[in-house]
Amino acid sequence: MVIGAGWMGARAFSPTAGPGISLMSEFIGLAYYAEIPCVFFNIQRTGPSTGMPTRTQQGDLMLCAYASHGDTKHIVLFPADPKECFEFSVQAFDLAERFQTPTFVVSDLDIGMNDWMIPRLEWDDSFVPDRGKILDADELEKIETFYRYLDLDGDHITARTLPGVHSKGSYFTRGSGHDKYGRYTEDSDAYVEVMDRLLAKVDSAADHVPAPEIFETDGGKSVGIVSVGGCHWAVLEARDALATEGIEIDYLRIRGFPFNQAVEQFLEDHSTVIVIEQNRDEQLKNLILLETSCAKEKLQSVRYYGGQPLSKGHVIEGVTPFLTREPAEVLQ
């Protein structure tokens, strides 16, 4: 329904958890390939399968980044608290329409179902939504022929039309192979041309997703922490505790995918990067290895995936082996 509404030009979203993303992955691939804006909120819970459905986890990072069969890649935002959930939802709709592609807001059960204290939510009344490239009736009247997937601006984003607006704007939306004119094709070159543009388009969203939040110290650039989403508050608490013992660690919190250039820079600047996340399979670490030029040897992994929210203790215990000296905190 979200995809049908998005196709019509409405801003539509579906809130779900991991199983919903698994179930709807075929549709997500259709929206990616047919370039239909849509937004999905994934309030991650403990998987796989039904898992522990009342417990939290970050087990769907990889799933959301590449949901569906075939070559696909999606824009993903990672809020750390309910305030960011609110703010990112606004950004997610803008990104989905600007880049005409599925956009995920990946939260977790801890953020979604537990009680939180956050600053009062604010709304900027001067906000104007970014609807992206949509041709209206007047613009369609002026052009000779409309082709849905023709990149006229060289920015990999093609203009779309909305049904019912103008007879010149009609085209056939399909999940089957199509060329840049929107016609069915099984021609290799025509297919590859569209697929390559789609990759470039989603990659270009890296500069538009929320930039990472970076906490730097004066303590040099040897060890840095990279984390995501609901891990944030435990990481902050652990950092503060370690700082009282004179152990200072830089920290970067990823807030969007494809990764912003600032993420690449942070990885480059630190000799050891500890990736803290709440899943068994080092999904964020692996995503970093896949999508940045970071060397594998640099990355260390700290994981907790037992279903409870991450705690300060988990973090301190996890990072201690990579520190030059053992903090007293860990012995308590």
């Binding site: 329904m1 995809i3 049908g4 939510l121």
Partner: protein, 351 residues
């Protein structure tokens, strides 16, 4: 198979409708289905329907799932907006599109594989929601694209091309639709355009989910002796229960029937559907009686056709949801966004 655009050549004396369009303007690209496929006849009936109803091509949204039938939206009204979705799940896309823009005309084309196996849940819920659309199920009892396996609508004892008899009971889409409370249920035959076109017209005028099951034989895999979905079998077992006349809005009613045999139903848009009962005892507005009648006819191996059930007064999806009158997509952002004051009000609940 490639996209083949039809040449624009047309006869200068071709009839035009009130929009100045000829029937050719309602065509699409060339069909890539097998020669003689029932689906191409359904496409032709749809083209005639749209032409005769003076439909603005770009105000039509045509949607489908996956399968032979689902290929056909490319074969009609090339100036309409088309959407070829995933297998069996066109109803949800149509529901979402209709929710966002209630003023367009929606036509969904599906098949028995698409609607009665993977898409059965979606089909049922589109009926429950009473999504305002014309839903055509091109029913041939067989999976044509994957070379001839029985579908869920194949009758017990109907044989495959290789001679094997089907043993599993069929899912009857008409029965299913009636049981679920569908407000417009029809069955027709791709080989009977005279019957099909008025039904399609009435379906487009219906406010709610208009379901048309069209027996549409598969010439390649299911048109042999022993098949109950062949041209020959359908012709010889068809039993027309209701003759339908569609009288568009502001047209004088001229057809005359003997008293008592005709029921006129005024549609939401003001047009009138005249139902001429071939069988005296049949009442197309009594759901339980229709179900009983169909069970009786079906038990004799006959195929009851016509506009079998019609109920025009019920609420559609927008009625259930109490949405605004106009299309949601046309509401300006300023009206949609409650702004900082609205946000503050909401948050007062949490202070």
């Amino acid at each position: 198979m490639s996209y083949i655009k039809k040449p624009a050549a047309r006869h200068p004396k071709l009839k035009v409708n009130s929009l100045g369009l000829t029937v050719r303007d309602y065509e699409g690209s060339m069909s890539t289905l097998c020669a003689g496929c029932g689906h191409d006849s359904v496409t032709a009936a749809l083209i005639q329907t749209f032409f005769e109803l003076d439909l603005e091509p770009h105000r039509l949204a045509k949607l489908s799932g996956i399968g032979c039938s689902s290929k056909t939206p490319t074969y009609f009204v090339s100036e309409a907006h088309g959407f070829n979705s995933v297998h069996g799940r066109m109803p949800s896309v149509a529901a979402g599109a209709n929710a966002a823009h209630r003023d367009l005309l929606y036509v969904g084309i599906s098949g028995d594989g698409d609607s009665l196996s993977i898409g059965l849940g979606q089909f049922c819920h589109a009926i429950r929601r009473n999504v305002n659309m014309l839903y055509v199920l091109e029913n041939n009892g067989v999976y044509g694209l994957t070379k001839g396996q029985f579908s869920a609508s194949a009758d017990i004892g109907s044989t495959s091309k290789g001679g094997m008899a089907n043993q599993q009971g069929p899912i009857d889409p008409v029965n299913t639709a009636l049981s679920l409370g569908a407000t417009f249920v029809a069955r027709s035959f791709s080989g009977d355009k005279d019957q099909l076109v008025p039904i399609l017209k009435a379906g487009l005028s219906h406010s709610g989910f208009a379901f048309v099951d069209v027996i549409s034989p598969c010439v390649t895999f299911n048109d042999h002796q022993g098949s109950t979905k062949s041209y020959a079998h359908t012709r010889s077992h068809m039993h027309e229960v209701i003759e339908t006349d569609f009288v568009p809005l502001r047209t004088e009613i001229t057809t005359e029937y003997s008293e008592g045999s005709v029921q006129g139903v005024t549609m939401h848009d003001g047009s009138v559907v005249k139902l001429h009962k071939v069988a005296d005892e049949y009442d197309p507005t009594d759901r339980r009686a229709v179900l009983d009648y169909l069970a009786d006819v079906g038990s004799r191996g006959e195929i009851a056709t016509g506009l079998l059930y019609l109920e025009e007064a019920g609420a559609d999806m927008h009625g259930f949801e109490n949405t605004v009158d106009g299309p949601l997509v046309e509401i300006p952002f300023a009206d949609l966004c409650p702004g900082s004051k609205g946000l503050e009000e909401v948050q007062k609940e949490w202070w």
